[in-house]
Symmetry: C2
Subunit: 238 residues, 2 copies
Amino acid sequence: MSKRNVRALKGRPGPLRKGANGGEPRVRAADMLSHALGLFAEVGFANATVKAIAKAAGVNPALIYYYYANKEALFVEALRYAINMAIEGQDGMGIIERTADPAAVIRFWFEKNRQLASPLSQMLKLMIEYRTAGRRIPAVEKLISQFYDAEVLLLARAIRRGIKIGQFRRVDVDRTAIFVSTHLDGLVVSATVRPAVNMARSISHLERVLFDYLGAAAEAVPSAPVGRLQHTVPATRS
Amino acid sequence: MSKRNVRALKGRPGPLRKGANGGEPRVRAADMLSHALGLFAEVGFANATVKAIAKAAGVNPALIYYYYANKEALFVEALRYAINMAIEGQDGMGIIERTADPAAVIRFWFEKNRQLASPLSQMLKLMIEYRTAGRRIPAVEKLISQFYDAEVLLLARAIRRGIKIGQFRRVDVDRTAIFVSTHLDGLVVSATVRPAVNMARSISHLERVLFDYLGAAAEAVPSAPVGRLQHTVPATRS
């Protein structure tokens, strides 16, 4: 991305300002970004045209150019949208962390990842394409760090608390959290490179491995709180 | 990739035929593909021009067009080259499998992955870009399957043999092999998306986790055969 484009992106109030033709701009912008995300992830940056994205979103290409200086600015915003969506998902864990036992928190986190498998896969593809293209946009760098840090911190907190109350055996907490986060990335890549891989099933396997490692077999963990909490998560699997 | 391009690629004798200006064409073609691989992985398909690849390889762009119909054909050959290189590395394990104990085979496999971290990372990036662009070229599909199947088979064989001779505890062999292979992909992605991640150190951690899981602590495994075998691997880390 050229310096000019980055500046153009920064200088704009962004997709959240009131649209020219009224309506709720926040919703419409999110809808456009969601379609941009899907198409960028599906066919890659080079092959996803603004025209095709506009068509998928059911809007005029001029509206996209009204919001975004160019395709690169749209790509960066789509990536930012995907990461923010994932981080918001993590933030929503706050209330569960305060009310459920550590094992339930971890099980809920796995369930969320199973349900968000498709958007998370799109996010990772865009992150890799962003890196591969050698882009370095401070705001995006910060979002990527925030996403991984939040994920690892959530897992580490639950594992540490589980050890403290005697639910899990003593393990290297930070190493374990990073290991699980890394493995999830590996599962997403597997499912991308080898379409025959069933991501939801792989995530469930990782969950069993983790509980086994923590000395808490899946059966031994009370499942009632998770069963209840699952209903609060919208089914977004595509 | 258009059908015409695929046909153009298939119809050609490929990069291994004798070059117009003599010399050893196999070596020169490998050198060109190695540079193409590096540039495609570094800046992505769209940003890597044939002119830049020719410059990096120190040849005339016309020579590249003499071998490859277009940039897409070159991309596919670079991906094929990377996968073949990785599979050849796995094939070279045959003699070690016959002469060393299972733990030494697994340690040797990890050492190889540490040493080939950079080209393996390039290969994975190209695989993801190939998938993302929606390409479906039977020869490449086959190579991707061969690569993963060979990797998982090698690990599964060593684990099974280790269990048989009482070196490892009983585990689900295939699940464990797939788990390790998937995690390695996750490590490559982590190092791509978050450059602060030290891939060699992460691979060593995965190695310790696996031996711990197999009930064979790193210390308990005889290290002499591995120490000897390591010298047969050329140091290709960049």
